[in-house]
């Protein structure tokens, strides 16, 4: 959350310093927002941290155990495997989303015939919740009563109905396809606004200088879209690291527990094994990893000195 605000909010001019009264009024204005953040973010976060230091079953008494939960995480190979899978998924799905969203953004950026129609239809899946989209796809992917396997069979493409969810590769790529379908439209809109903020004169000047479309894309479009790319990238990475719904609803972590994500593991520890304290400790670890990753991304995509 904080990282996103950091890029979108420009640095405040320091004029207000000295004008004490106006500063107080400013504080008053942000007070409701601060209150919301404190009540719904800071307090629960502190409670999670507090719980993570306890052996806290769903029922019965809890007891203070210090850092035991964190030591246990070090030995929890299934958590690290889940994290490894989450990392793999994040890399693959982020590349896939950008590979689809960028061409779409270029396609719908300038007004032309039917642009409104295309924008709407590409964006449409983004307004569905992840859970509903997962339920829809869980039906589409069903081998007996769904769409893909029966259709391929009826068209004579496969010899018998192929169960897409039964083995790792087809199941994993089915999820990737579903997520791209669901998220690419949103990323497309973000990228489109970035594209539209590039002054057309620059492109024209480059064209007159004889730069081809690829050179213009590389030397003008990409550098000027740094901020937009950073935003889209951070949203996509953070969203993917926290992935849960689609793996829970469509695959149940299967086939054979090969698609357990980090959040899925936290959920299992907390609500299947009833170890809330341990789940809280895992959440803290994931939070640290996520913050670190976001900082790294911001640093990599920071505006070079002198530009802007």
């Amino acid at each position: 959350m904080t990282t996103i605000t950091a890029i979108s909010a420009p640095t405040r001019p320091r004029k207000l310093v000295g004008a004490g009264r106006r500063q107080w009024i400013g504080l008053l204005y942000v007070a409701p927002a601060v209150a919301l953040v404190v009540v719904f973010f800071i307090v629960p976060l502190c409670m999670t941290a507090w719980m993570s230091l306890h052996n806290w079953p769903l029922m019965g008494a809890h007891s203070f155990v210090g850092l035991d939960n964190y030591w246990a995480i070090l030995r929890d190979t299934r958590f690290w495997n889940a994290l490894k899978f989450t990392g793999y998924y994040t890399v693959v799905v982020t590349i896939a989303i950008f590979a689809v969203a960028f061409p779409l953004a270029l396609f719908i950026e300038r007004p032309r015939q039917l642009t409104g129609f295309y924008r709407t239809s590409f964006f449409m899946p983004a307004v569905i919740g992840f859970a509903s989209a997962s339920l829809l796809w869980s039906w589409l992917l069903n081998v007996d009563s769904g769409l893909f396997s029966p259709a391929a069979f009826e068209l004579g493409l496969t010899e018998k109905k192929f169960n897409l969810l039964a083995t790792f590769q087809p199941a994993f790529w089915s999820i990737i396809a579903m997520v791209v379908w669901k998220v690419a439209g949103f990323t497309m809109i973000i990228l489109m606004t970035g594209l539209q903020s590039i002054p057309p004169d620059l492109q024209e000047a480059a064209m007159i200088d004889g730069a081809g479309p690829f050179a213009r894309f590389r030397a003008i479009t990409l550098p000027l879209m740094r901020r937009t790319l950073a935003l889209a990238l951070i949203l996509s990475v953070a969203g993917s690291i926290l992935a849960f719904d689609q793996f829970y609803i469509i695959l149940r972590g299967g086939p054979r527990n090969q698609t357990l994500t980090a959040v899925y593991w936290i959920f299992n520890q907390s609500f299947v094994s009833f170890k809330l304290g341990y789940g809280a400790a895992l959440s803290m670890v994931l939070l640290v990893i996520l913050v670190a990753l976001s900082l790294i991304q911001l640093r990599l995509l920071r505006q070079p000195e002198g530009v802007d």
Partner: protein, 417 residues
């Protein structure tokens, strides 16, 4: 259908929390039940409320929510006075110190000895009784009489051993088209503990020791039962969707009328009779390798929240549920009777196929473990992973060894209190 029930249940629970306590003259106790009981529970509560001054207020909670919701409510001091709880959770709830010890009252009941033994066993923790049987469901084998007839089999005779299961399924499967010989949910731990372990029990094996302290997966009986399923999968007698079915088609597959045989539960009798009256089916026991039979004894135990002030009301209600009137209401709306001595009387006007299920229940078994959820029911637990690998995968030995090791380590690291 399921969503409607869940929706209703959510609505019910919201209204439940909003409703205020009834008139002060009589006491009102609050009871929760999981959505599986949404058919019979409101009926029996209504009947009780009509005839008694003390009242019961019922909340129906979605199946997957009831455990975490109860845990949260208990932590916040707003837990219901009593709960109809999936019996396999009774040991872990008792171990957590969440339940009232009802040993003395239970033993004072004149019919205590004829209460479903499997329920009483899971309701007992360290020699004390914390849960008593409320509703019951046993596992049975169902077959489609119409398809049996078409396949040239005797439609009135179900299989009595493993070889017959396979050959019957094969003959039905030979009808071709959409018709398949056999169905089971291949990615559902709860379904397979219910319908697959009875095959092992009936052959003399078991998956856990009596006290739940050791996992005993690698037995000749287990391997034999696995071979039966593997062979049917290999011969293509099972629809390919079975491999990834997490339980949503557990009953629905047979209800399409295209499945010859399917292991199922007593609940299927009521569901088929009311929702699919056109399907002509038979019910028999889940057999062992060379005959004999066994069943999983499922259902709910009735447990009382520790420290509640409404123990008297709760006991009055349970007493009513155990009466002939109560047992008849339960049987009529989808649960088997839990009192062996009056079971036949409660079932006498109902579909005769219930008798098979009731008999299965009387001899039914339930594995005992304080970590049942972790071991068996979890979609990502060792049991479910092993079932899926041994039925559809290549490495049976590795899957069994791996599950044995994981289960034992979960049992060993469970809190010992």
């Amino acid at each position: 259908m399921r969503t409607t029930i869940t929706g209703l249940a959510i609505a019910a629970s919201i209204f439940g929390t909003l409703a205020t306590v009834g008139p002060a003259a009589a006491d009102t106790a609050n009871i929760w039940v999981r959505a599986d009981g949404s058919n019979f529970m409101p009926r029996i509560v209504d009947a009780f409320n009509k005839g008694h001054q003390n009242q019961i207020k019922l909340d129906i909670i979605p199946n997957a929510e009831i455990i975490p919701k109860y845990g949260a409510a208990a932590a916040g001091g707003t837990a219901p006075d009593a709960l109809s709880l999936d019996l396999i959770y009774t040991p872990s709830f008792a171990a957590a110190g969440q339940l009232e010890d009802i040993t003395d009252w239970a033993k004072s009941l004149p019919y205590f000895a004829s209460l479903s033994p499997a329920h009483v066993k899971t309701g007992t923790y360290k020699g004390r009784i914390y849960g008593l049987p409320f509703s019951a469901d046993s596992s049975v084998l169902i077959w489609n009489k119409k398809l049996f007839k078409q396949a040239g089999l005797d439609p009135e005779k179900g299989p009595t051993n493993w070889a017959e299961i396979e050959s019957d399924a094969e003959k039905v499967n030979a009808l071709g088209g959409d018709i398949k010989g056999f169905y089971f949910s291949g990615n559902c731990g709860g379904c397979n503990i219910f319908t697959f372990t009875p095959l092992i029990w009936a052959s003399g094996g078991d998956i856990l020791t009596e006290d739940g302290s050791k996992a005993t997966l690698d037995t000749p009986q287990m391997r034999g039962a696995i071979d039966l399923y593997r062979s049917m999968v290999k011969k293509d007698l099972v629809p390919s969707g079975a491999q990834t079915d997490t339980g949503s088609n557990f009953f629905a597959a047979f209800a399409t009328g295209n499945i010859g045989l399917s292991p199922s539960g007593a609940f299927a009798i009521g569901a088929l009779n009311t929702q699919y009256p056109d399907i002509d089916y038979g019910i028999t026991f889940l057999p062992g390798k060379d005959g004999g039979w066994s069943s999983f004894a499922g259902g709910d135990n009735f447990v009382v929240t520790k420290g509640t002030t409404k123990v008297a009301v709760v006991k009055e209600f349970l007493d009513f549920a155990y009466s002939l009137e109560g047992q008849t209401i339960l049987a009529k709306y989808g649960s088997l009777p839990v009192r062996g001595d009056i079971a036949n009387e409660a079932l006498k006007d109902l579909d005769p196929r219930y008798k098979v299920a009731a008999e299965a229940m009387a001899k039914g078994r339930t594995p005992y473990s304080v970590v049942f959820n972790d071991l068996i029911n979890s979609a990502n637990g060792p049991w479910n992973q092993m079932m899926n690998e041994v039925f559809f995968g290549e490495d049976v030995d590795g899957a069994i060894a791996n599950a044995q090791e994981t289960m034992q380590s979960i049992i060993d690291s469970a809190p010992q209190k």
